[in-house]
Amino acid sequence: MSIYLDKNSKVIVQGITGREGLFHTQRMLAYGTNIVGGVTPGKGGTTVEGGTTVEGGVPVFNTVKDAVDATGATHTILFVPPQFAADALYEAYDAKIGLAVAVTEGIPAHDMLKIVATTPGMRIVGPNCPGLVSPGRALVGIMPGHVFAPGRVGMISRSGTLTYEIVDGLTKAGLGQSTCVGIGGDPIIGMTFVDCLRSFASDPETDALVVCGEIGGSDEEDAAAFIREHLPGKPIVAFIGGRSAPKGKRLGHAGAIISGNVGTPESKLAAFAAAGVQVADRPSQIPGLLKERMAAAAV
């Protein structure tokens, strides 16, 4: 089993006829994703070439509602510029889409504040994220599919490219993945580490986890607290990006007080240590550490 996404998930692409939308639609189709339609206002009734997967091409609709009515789509992925992303997410929500992947970088934080507060029940992955993949089943995102392999390791990551780097290592070490979720690096995101951990916790086919965080925010601390309470003994390895980064611009003082003075590498390392989660110093160590933990837990 995988979480959030499998072979039967019916996926539509918002912005399917744009440059990026077209390109990644082809790649997702090639991966085997069940893309049942796309949306571009004014291009309803046309089709997009679907490679070898879809006979007659992928149908394009004028609105998400039309697409959902015609196809029963449950998932969407957005390839739209940041200034149109809020509208696209609300359109998906309105059409009762269950999970939306927002790849878009540069969506205003205030747009996301309002969206996450007013779209209860819709899972939003991202924004500014590479999407998610259940290897061997389906890929909804912009990730390079060939680095993934089916298996029993779940992965959650705030960084896009670092995810590929880590997964590449896992796959080469023989550790396939159940589902990998790139939750995105923006200040305000939909699904968090904790949301994903909760789903992985009830997935019988995920034996071990990799959590790839970054400095800033308190998502890693919250993840560590969740693991401590709900996943003790689970083989989990974490990584924290940006530990050797120049200090640069730090969080505003007010922000640091509100979040309880967390966000530093030290705070995150301490939180994971308290949860019994080993933190790798570099990506290339992760497969080895994970194998040790899995052997110890005898999974």
């Binding site: 790849v103 504040l113 390079p144 590929y164 780097e165 990006g241 940006g242 980064a245 509100i258 570099r282």
Partner: protein, 387 residues
């Protein structure tokens, strides 16, 4: 975008938050003329983005036109240095404001709380000092409220916070409506932070924003073409300006101390690349994140920006394609090196992910052989920089 005090107060006035009388000046002449036309006691405040400008000597008091001229002459052009900005910041302008008789000082701010995904309001009666110090010394003195973004601000929030933070009674009437204005500003202009410290209760009972700290989300600035001019002025950091000039975000390029140039796609991979270089015994000269979906032109421009830094002895380009396509990156590299206009430095390329095969083919045709892993590439770059 961080705003200077005079810009923040401009926004304050737009949303009805009272600010002291005064004038914005760029020269000692203007300062002298203003005080001559408006006799009284005035405060000259250096307009800089750094914190702690008072301690750094950036605030002076003038009671006469001559004094205003002398102090303005002294301040304008001065480099102010603080704990957080040892390199210093040059004073280009002053805000001249009336000296108000302070009865009491409070602190109020609104910021985005990532964890709860809500705007968070903080209030304390201990205004006029560093709120982090207040938080360490006496955290209970700070009252907080998390606003439901679907509902927004309602005046009861201001009333509750004023009572909870034990603001002196003189604040109570004005406070909820000042917070109404501050929340409006926070929302309408898409702020990451709005802060009034101190919010002053004057001896004659007025409540005035004595300082203004506003930081806007760069991603939302397109909604405010009227602030374009401020945006253009808002950084004097040449690295940030160089990044913006080629179409990247301000924080996509940073100069560091080492001798290896780094270009990567994505901040996470960039950080990882620097880690790898350090692990291999080297040190990065700079770091450029080309972001997602980079086209050949941007890759070429990035190559130029990084190699323009004379410290750079070798360059490591580390691409793991997702939305970024290997063929586009490869084409950019080849273009950058094809003419004679750009500096040639020893180059290590690691190219994998989306359109990896096409990219490698383009590079192979130009006689370049990418490496397989990040660690391998880092090691090679360190060796090249040494020779």
């Amino acid at each position: 975008m961080k705003l200077m005090e005079f810009q923040g107060k401009d926004l304050f006035r737009r949303v009805g938050i009272p600010t002291p009388r005064g004038a914005f000046v760029r020269t000692a002449d203007e300062a002298e003329r203003f005080v001559a036309a408006n006799p009284g006691s005035w405060v000259l405040k250096s307009q800089v983005l750094m914190g702690g400008r008072g301690k750094a000597g950036g605030i002076k008091f003038a009671d006469s036109p001559a004094e205003a001229r002398a102090l303005a002459t002294e301040l304008i052009g001065e480099i102010l240095k603080g704990v957080q900005n040892p390199e210093g910041e040059r004073v280009e302008s002053l805000l001249i404001e009336e000296k108000v008789a302070i009865a009491s000082e409070a602190y109020v701010s609104i910021t985005i709380d990532r964890a709860t995904k809500k705007p968070a309001i903080m209030v304390t009666a201990q205004g006029g000092m560093d709120v982090e110090e207040v938080n360490e010394r006496d955290p209970d003195a700070i009252s907080k409220y998390w606003v439901d973004p679907a509902i927004g601000y309602s005046p009861f929030i201001g009333r509750r916070l004023a009572f909870a933070a034990k603001l002196p009674a003189g604040f109570h009437k004005a406070f909820p409506s000042i917070l109404t204005g501050l929340y409006k500003l926070f929302m309408e202009y898409g702020a990451n932070l709005v802060e009034i410290n101190p919010l002053v209760l004057t001896k004659d009972g007025a409540v005035i924003a004595s300082d203004a700290k506003v930081e806007l989300d760069d991603n939302g600035l397109y909604k405010h073409p009227d602030l374009k001019e401020w945006n253009a002025q808002s950084t004097s950091d040449p690295d940030q300006m160089a990044a913006v000039a080629i179409g990247l975000g301000m924080s996509n390029y940073a100069k560091l101390d080492g001798d290896i140039g780094v270009i990567a796609n994505g901040a996470g991979l960039g950080m990882g690349t620097m880690d790898a270089i350090r692990n291999a015994g080297g040190s990065a000269a700079n770091f450029l994140d080309i972001g997602g979906g980079a086209q050949a032109k941007l890759v070429k421009d990035s190559y130029k920006l990084v190699t323009d830094d004379p410290k750079v002895k070798a360059l490591f380009i580390n691409i793991f394609g997702g939305i970024t396509r290997g063929d586009q990156v490869a084409r950019g590299i080849v273009e950058a090196l094809s003419g004679n206009d750009l500096r040639k430095v020893p180059l290590v390329i690691r190219l994998t992910g989306t359109n990896e095969k096409e990219g490698r083919a383009i590079l192979a045709e130009a006689g370049m052989n990418p490496v397989e892993t990040m660690d391998e590439g880092a090691k090679m770059a360190v060796e090249m920089a040494r020779t």
